[in-house]
Symmetry: C2
Subunit: 446 residues, 2 copies
């Protein structure tokens, strides 16, 4: 059997501790599957004294994580520090430059700097892997990068943030409102003290950008992902959606236009990447994703629709993904080769894709207006719809005010271009009849 793969582990939060526990608990099978031992040599974190519930005595403690990563007796660095920039990025750049394999769970860093890191890794001939960055323990990066590699993938959709999905499905189960469920999730440790990245859809946007690059062979473009979070979704929306046969989920959707297989087309390929709360039809595979679960649907031109689902976060699932990457690296490196380009094709050949025009998209939409309880309001909304060119399929006006003097008006539009809805909303901007900005949610049909 080959020599051990020698690991430096930077960052000892819950995931770092999970990796240590996994390698201790499953050591014989990991060695059998990797073809050699995966051995942690050194660890580093900010605070040496903190009790992490794992025995660190077998490992050398290093105060300087970048120096640790560059040591001669290290083959691969596991970065679990977090943060798009700062120490994590310095560590990653230095590790790659020193010819070390790099495994990271850091979606923010990969979303922002994945292209440059992949170029550096390819130039250095070292593997860069980030299975744990998307959908926790679900091997969706591998599934798209390798399992579905024969397909032109035309769309990826995913429930990519466990915190939001937990909040939305708890609101659905209990009828409680957003703020209440968020506070409980924070108390239970399911949501961060500062939940902005999760509930505003930024975390899901990081993951979506990574998935698009791999699925479409597109140049990673986090800046073009539009993100809208779940803070404005009310219990009443969930109840109305249920009446109409839908559940509400925060869904990241990326699709591509003019993507001839292999990009041989004459029109330049363009893509649209968006994270939005959506009404999901009950027979859509994402409708049954509850609690902190993540799921990704990919549509390949030969495979058809594929679904990958599982725990989106947590120390065990994330450690499972980190160690899967290490096993791949151990297997490949035993044969003296790297494990292929991080984004499936070489970074310099990823195709730059301009953002598509969202107004051209067709579909049905759910529109919810919070309006003053006074005459003429409905006429004003209906006129805006008419002038925007929005055709209304159904309208529900709640009989009674929800809060002081406020009534909810809910509409479902017929299938039509999104531009019309945007235009209609613009006509209503600043109207004194509306007590808050309208909430527009796309409908995902099965």
């Amino acid at each position: 059997m080959a020599e051990p793969l020698r690991i430096a582990l930077a960052g000892l939060g819950t995931v770092g501790a999970g990796v240590i526990r996994l390698l201790a608990s499953n050591d014989a099978l990991v060695t059998a599957r990797a073809g050699r031992e995966i051995r942690i040599i050194a660890v580093s974190a900010r605070d040496r004294s903190r009790d992490r519930g794992v025995d660190l005595s077998p490992f050398e403690w290093c105060d300087d994580m970048t120096a640790m990563a560059c040591r001669d007796d290290i083959d691969a660095v596991v970065e679990l520090v977090g943060g798009a920039d700062g120490p994590a990025l310095t560590l990653a750049r230095n590790a790659i430059r020193e010819g070390k394999a790099l495994v990271t769970a850091n979606k923010a860093m990969i979303a922002h700097h994945g292209l440059a890191l992949a170029q550096a890794a390819e130039a250095a001939g070292v593997p860069l892997r980030f299975e744990a960055a998307v959908a926790g323990g679900v091997p969706v990066i591998k599934a798209l990068r390798e399992g579905a590699a024969a397909n032109a993938i035309v769309r990826v959709q995913g429930i990519l943030n466990g915190t939001c999905n937990y909040i939305l499905s708890t609101m659905e189960d209990t009828g409680r409102d957003f703020g209440d469920v968020l506070a409980e999730a924070q108390a239970l440790g399911y949501a961060e003290a500062d939940p902005t990245f999760d509930i505003e859809g930024i975390d899901a946007a990081h993951k979506l950008a990574i998935l698009s690059a791999i699925a479409f062979g597109a140049r990673l473009d986090f800046a073009s992902v539009s993100a809208e979070g779940i803070a404005r979704v009310r219990a009443a929306d969930i109840a109305r959606a249920a009446d109409l046969g839908f559940v509400i989920r925060l869904v990241g959707t990326a699709d591509v236009e003019n993507a001839e297989p292999g990009n041989a087309g004459s029109s330049p390929a363009r893509m649209l990447q968006r994270v939005r709360p959506c009404l999901v039809a009950r027979d859509h595979p994402l409708a049954h994703v509850d609690g902190p679960t993540n799921a990704v649907v990919a549509e390949g031109n030969f495979s058809g629709r594929l679904l990958f689902q599982g725990a989106g976060a947590g120390d065990g699932p994330t450690a499972s993904a980190v160690v899967a990457d290490l096993i791949d690296i151990a297997r490949a490196a035993a044969d003296g080769r790297d494990a292929g380009p991080p984004f499936s094709i070489p970074a310099d050949r990823l195709v730059p894709m301009a953002p598509s025009e969202p107004g051209d998209r067709r579909g049905r939409n759910y529109l919810r207006f919070t309006v003053a309880d006074k005459p003429g309001v409905l006429a004003e909304i209906a006129a805006a719809m008419r002038d925007g060119g929005v055709s209304i399929e159904s309208l529900i006006q709640q009989g009674r005010s929800t809060t002081e003097g406020e009534v909810l008006v809910v509409m479902v539009t017929h299938d039509g271009p999104e531009r019309c809805v945007t235009d209609a909303m613009r006509l209503l901007e600043g109207s004194p009849s509306l007590t808050a900005a309208p909430l527009v949610m796309p409908i995902l049909e099965a």
Copy 2:
């Protein structure tokens, strides 16, 4: 870029034609992801004259497929002939012996001869891959072999036969009976003229045996898979199950006892592999798998429960899996290495596992009796339950005879050892009160 990977394709049914179409349609992206061209050099099938809807003129036609596979200008052989033995097996053995990579969609051959073929492939240092043999286009072999490689997997469950799932979900949607739906499925081409392998659960058993070997690191043991098909499921069972909150699906389940990670335990590991129609709770991930879809749930000790779902058959999905294997082989072989052991760990290190005792399993069961419409029958059944030690949670006796003089009695048992149910059924064997053998279906809780 490296030299093309040169392919010989044996078998030109729908899947073979699909592979040809895929490589023509997606050639640029397949080349980009494989790092080199995947080029079909030669093809072979029984009947040269048949129109397959694809242009065969770019390829050399060979009448002798084994001779074709052994040619010096071939790197990899794709076996799509089918059948556990006969020409497919001869071809596979010869191809491996001649140092060719082998890709196959042949579940019967892998279930019966996978161990010997893997040993031969490892000895010859060539890849043997069979992603297309299980769950069509869903990359579940890769997901278990690599994606979940860090986990001790304790259970795999799957809907592995699209024909059965189509029949059961159509029965559910329409209320029609088995024979009627099967006949329609045959007319539509969703079921074979001789559907025995599908409806008796043999095809699902082949796939389950392959999954168990990879998931548990167990020595492939098709002979120990017990299979019960769906021919005895009636429309009335589906209706009763629905009343109780369940759907009926043909599920392959494999689990393992005493499987210390890496098999370091003192008691020998044992496994149970069964294919049976089951009542699946509506919040179990397999409950939403409809039509010809396949799905696999794997439970890892760190990842938790993972779900992989998609089209289980068809030319496009199966071709997607075949070409994914070819891309893996092309990537690896470009670096002069093989692609790792077919079953994740070397074949000689797969652990022989004796079958577990099914009587020890605990769970709830659905029991359906078809009885003569006369006094005393219920007392006889109830006595058998008591004497077997089965505790009954609920009982439904249909008010009216379904067919001439026949009444259905349905029971759900409390959680208990399966042995008790088996004993009770034995007590009723040959009873003149029963007009047919009772149907016992395990209940899969969420």
